[in-house]
């Protein structure tokens, strides 16, 4: 699949190495002369890669991203084919919809069929559950048999709607750290209507990154998620260089951002350095957003939590604090979340999303990819969300 000839830029390599300030100048210029710049960065990458190979006797490195949007950019713009042979870009857990455990979907379907109004983001609307509930597997299907399901863009739309119709309602709160400040603020500011509850299925990215790394073995560099990091800050990733000696770059979402991040990772490897660098300075800082972190801490506890197809990951999920339990749909409507011992593998037979999410295999290694499982007839969760790795690869496969 990798085609190192593609997009290869005429290489007049001198033994130059670039430093951080070169990269900064490049970032500053970037948007003005996009095309030339991309070639320039690719050239830098090739030079660094040559140095690394000869100096350190390495043939292959693996760089992992933890963000559906990074995977989207990488695949959409064929960045893999721009990179020299031996540099692999792998998608890690980057999509909050794909890893939402099946039992949350099942509870949401049940509640919608019991007459509550269930609010969901569009991405989770078609998410298939493992078990059928009254013959249906997703909220979209539930709607066709009379379930009350409403797709919203944000919590505020749901609040407005719930204020008008006064029905009991539940918000399917899927998401990573970026989507959680709004729930916390709405709760603290007491703007929720009566009988409004949440299915709290929020997950945290750094613990899953650490887990993925422990499962797939050595990773040589990490492209960290830009928007998640606007909330949690670059420092939330410092365990990667400190504990695992992994160069980490918090990156923006444009092709050039991703290329620069790869170059910076190579620079660090070349110089034997490992640290967190923020490339996405236009929206991310070292400390992150203090207000957002504070309100989340006030409303939610961080607990061990299940990831679909993967299992429990320590300290990786949000749960409403005791004093807010009347807002927790599980408590209010008498559902119990499976604990570590009760958790069961929750993918349909044959679906390999768990391995795709951890970066162990590529979507193309799944026998169902583009046969039984396609974007129009998704079989597994990674094919549903626009940020799911399988869905991204399926839509843009011709570009790789």
């Amino acid at each position: 699949m990798k085609n190192p000839e593609d997009g290869k830029i005429n290489d007049k390599t001198e033994n130059s190495s670039i430093n951080a300030s070169d990269l900064k100048t490049i970032t500053d210029k970037i948007f003005r002369t996009n095309q030339d710049l991309a070639s320039g960065v690719v050239k830098i990458i090739e030079t660094l890669w040559k140095n690394i190979k000869s100096k350190k006797n390495i043939e292959r490195i693996r760089i992992m991203n933890f963000c559906g949007t990074h995977e989207w950019t990488t695949t959409r713009y064929g960045l893999r084919s721009l990179l020299p042979e031996g540099i692999e870009l792998i998608a890690g857990p980057g999509c909050p919809v794909c890893i939402t455990p099946s039992y949350y979907v099942e509870v949401a379907i049940k509640l919608s069929l019991e007459g509550l109004r269930v609010y969901t983001y569009g991405d989770a609307y078609r998410l298939p559950a493992l078990k059928e509930i009254e013959g249906v597997r997703s909220l979209a299907e539930a709607k066709t048999i009379g379930g009350d399901v409403s797709v919203v863009y944000s919590l505020l739309n749901a609040i407005k709607d719930a204020q008008q119709n006064r029905k009991k309602s539940v918000f399917f709160a899927v998401g990573f750290e970026t989507t959680y400040p709004i729930y916390a603020l709405a709760i603290l500011k007491k703007i929720l209507p009566e009988n409004f509850t949440f299915i709290v299925s929020g997950r945290l990215t750094p613990p899953s990154a650490e887990y993925a790394i422990s499962k797939i073995g050595k990773i040589d560099g990490v492209i960290g998620p830009g928007h998640v990091s606007s909330i949690i800050g670059g420092k939330a990733w410092s365990f990667l260089p400190e504990k695992y000696n992994i160069p980490t770059v918090i990156s923006g979402f444009e092709p050039i951002d991703v290329l620069i991040s790869v170059a910076e990772i190579l620079r660090q490897i070349d110089e034997g350095d490992a640290r967190v660098v923020i490339e996405y300075t236009r929206a991310t800082s070292w400390d992150g957003n203090e207000l957002a972190k504070k309100v989340i801490r006030e409303v939610f506890d961080v607990v061990d939590a299940a990831w679909r197809g993967i299992g429990f990951i320590p300290n990786s999920g949000y749960k409403l604090k005791e004093e807010n339990s009347k807002l927790d749909a599980f408590d209010v409507y008498g559902f119990k979340e499976p604990n570590f011992n009760e958790w069961r593998y929750d993918l349909l037979p044959g679906c390999k999303c768990g391995e795709v999410i951890l970066g162990k295999i590529k979507p193309t290694n799944c026998p169902l990819f583009l046969t039984k499982c396609t974007p129009t007839t998704p079989y597994g969760p990674c094919m549903v969300s626009t940020e799911g790795t399988c869905s991204i690869w399926a839509r843009f496969s011709r570009l790789r």
Partner: protein
């Protein structure tokens, strides 16, 4: 749900604000504290997560435009989509 959207602040009331997404005004909650009317922002599932300078906004928008243009070129989206984006751009920029 994850791709951020770009817009401009038109009204602020405590932690709530109203964002112009190019003709469509939506209510949002802000975790950015020093927000002013006219600021360019990234909104993520109804939350303002960061502020952008005008230049940064232009750059980001250019990127969006480039994606759309490719999608249209490849027949994945209609030309209307591109026109819509152009008119949004005109409404947001001054």
């Amino acid at each position: 749900m994850c791709l951020g959207t770009y817009g401009r602040v038109v009204k602020i009331q405590e932690y709530k604000c109203w964002i112009d997404f190019g003709g469509v005004i939506e209510e949002a909650i802000s975790v950015v504290e020093d927000l002013s009317i006219g600021d360019y922002v990234i909104v993520h599932a109804g939350v303002v997560i960061s502020k952008l300078s005008k230049e940064e906004f232009l750059d980001s928008f250019k990127y969006l435009y480039e994606i759309k243009r490719k999608l249209v070129e490849e027949g994945e989206q209609s030309k209307e989509e591109l026109k819509k984006l152009e008119s949004i751009f005109k409404l947001l920029i001054d």
